[in-house]
C-alpha cells in the first residue's frame, strides 16, 4: 500500500504505523454513569468489511497522526487528512 501524507506526499505504507478505528471518540467526563460510553470507546469496534476511517501515524516521516479512509477488503486508500485538522466533535463543542 501507499499512503498520501498531506505533508510529505505519497509514501510507502511501512513508513506509517496503524492504530485502529478513527471514528471512535474519547468521552468527556469521568462519571461512573459514563462507564458504558468509555467501554465502547476503549474496547468496542465496528470493524467493518469495506470502507473505514482509521488512524495512521507517519512515524517514519513527519510524525503526523493521519486519518486514512481505506477499504479493508481491497486495501484501496480513498483519502487522507491530518487528525489535527479534524473538526471537534459536536459533543466537545457542547462542552466548551
Amino acid at each position: 500500500m501507499r499512503i498520501h501524507c498531506p505533508y510529505c506526499g505519497e509514501r510507502p505504507a511501512e513508513e506509517f504505523t496503524f492504530q485502529g478505528d478513527a471514528d471512535v471518540r474519547r468521552p468527556q467526563g469521568n462519571e461512573p454513569s459514563q462507564m458504558d460510553e468509555w467501554f465502547d470507546y476503549v474496547y468496542l469496534r465496528e470493524n467493518p468489511r469495506g470502507r473505514m476511517k482509521e488512524y495512521w501515524h507517519h512515524s517514519g516521516g513527519c510524525r503526523s497522526w493521519l486519518i486514512v479512509e481505506r477499504d479493508t477488503d481491497s486495501h484501496e486508500v480513498f483519502g487522507v487528512t491530518a487528525a489535527r485538522e479534524r473538526k471537534l466533535s459536536p459533543q466537545r463543542k457542547r462542552a466548551s
Binding site: 496503524f18 485502529g20 474496547y43 469496534r45 470493524n47 479493508t72 477488503d73 481491497s74 486495501h75
Partner: protein, 416 residues
Amino acid sequence: MTYSVFSLLKNAVTGHKNWAPAWRDPAPKPAYDVIIVGGGGHGLATAYYLAKVHGITNVAVLEKSWLGSGNIGRNTTIIRSNYLFPGNNPFYEWSMKLWEGLEQDFNFNAMVSQRGVLNLYHSDAQRDAYARRGNAMHMHGVDAELLDEQGVRDMYPFFNFDDARFPIRGGLLQRRGGTVRHDAVAWGYARGADSRGVDVIQNCEVTGIRIEKGVVKGVETNRGYIACNKLGLAAAGNSSEVAKMAGLKLPIESHVLQAFVSEAIKPFIDGVVTYGAGHFYVSQSDKGGLVFGGDIDGYNSYARRGNLPTVEHVIEAGVSMIPAISRVRVLRSWGGIMDMSMDGSPIIDKTDVKGLYLNAGWCYGGFKATPASGWCFAHTIAKDEAHKLSAAYRLDRFKRGFAIDEKGMGAQPNLH
C-alpha cells in the same frame, strides 16, 4: 467405514473404487436443535463434541465456502500449551491433551507430532519472563524446560550464535508442543460429526440472524431460512460481521496474518522454534517445506493477503536466526484473517440474546485451541453455561476489568 491399514489394503484390491465419502453432502433441513455458523476447525469440533459428548446430534454446521476454508486451512499448524495466566493455561493444556488422543478418537490421522516448541530468549529480562511462564506451566503440570545457550546449540547448532545483533541466550522448550496437519483436523472432525448425524453443509452462507424478543429463532442463508433453538457463532475471520447480524458489537479488530512455506528440502529443523529478537517462527513439515510466519501486517483487513514490508520483516528475522536458510527459496505466501481481540485472548460465551453463543477473538492462536474450543463451546451451548476451563473467556471481562493480556499490550489489538 473405519480407517485403518486393513481398510486401505481392502480398497487397494478394488482399485480404491469403493471408498465411502468422508462426509455426506446434505441439503439443509428446515430446522435444527443447534446451528453452528462456520465450518472451520472450531465449528466442526463444536459439532463433533455436541454429538459425541452431549448426545446432541440434530445439528447443522453452515459453511459459506468449502469445509475448512478459513484459518484451519491456512495456519502454520503449531500446537502448544505454554501459557502464563490461569485463565489460559488449563484451557490450552486440555487442548493439548485432546490433541494427544485425537486421531484415535476421531479415526483420522491428523499427524499430531510433538516434536517440541522452543521459544528463544536473548536477554535476562526475556529469560525471566520465560521463567515466570515456565513455572506457571509447571504449576499446572505442563512440561517446560529452560535451556541455556548451550542447550539451544545442542538442538540447533546451525542457528546464529556468533554473529547476531541479538545473541541467542537460551530458550523455553515445551517438548509436548509440535505440529498437526491442519486440514486433516477439519476433515477428521467433519467426518466424525457427520457419522454421528451432524449435517455439515458447505456453500451455505448465513446472511441474517432472526431474533424475536431477545430469543434466537434461526438464520437466513443463501439456501433459505433455517430455524434453530440455539445458534453458535464460530466464524473466525468474520466474527464482527456475523455478530452484527445479531446486533452485537465486539471487542475485536480483524487483521491479516501472513504465513509462508519454502520449497521442500530434507528435514533439518526438527521442532517449532520462535525467534525472540524479531517476528519469526518456523517448523518443517513432514513434506520438507519450512513453514514459517511472523507478525500480522498490522492494519485492519479482510483480505487474505498481505504486503511486502511484512514479508521482508519476517524473512530478515528468519535469516538472522538461521543463516543457513539464505539460499533456500520461499515458495508461497498466503494470508488469513485474525480476529484480534482487545486483550489477545478469546471469547467463548453466551450472549445477551437467548440461545445465541459466541466463539471469537482467537487472534493468531486459534489452531492449537481447536479441540478445547470445540469442547468448551459445545458445553456452553449444551448447558447454557460456561465450561470451567473457558470461564475466563467471558465477553463481559473487558467491561469488568478482567482482561487476560499475556503480552501486556493493552487495548490495541494489532499489538497482541
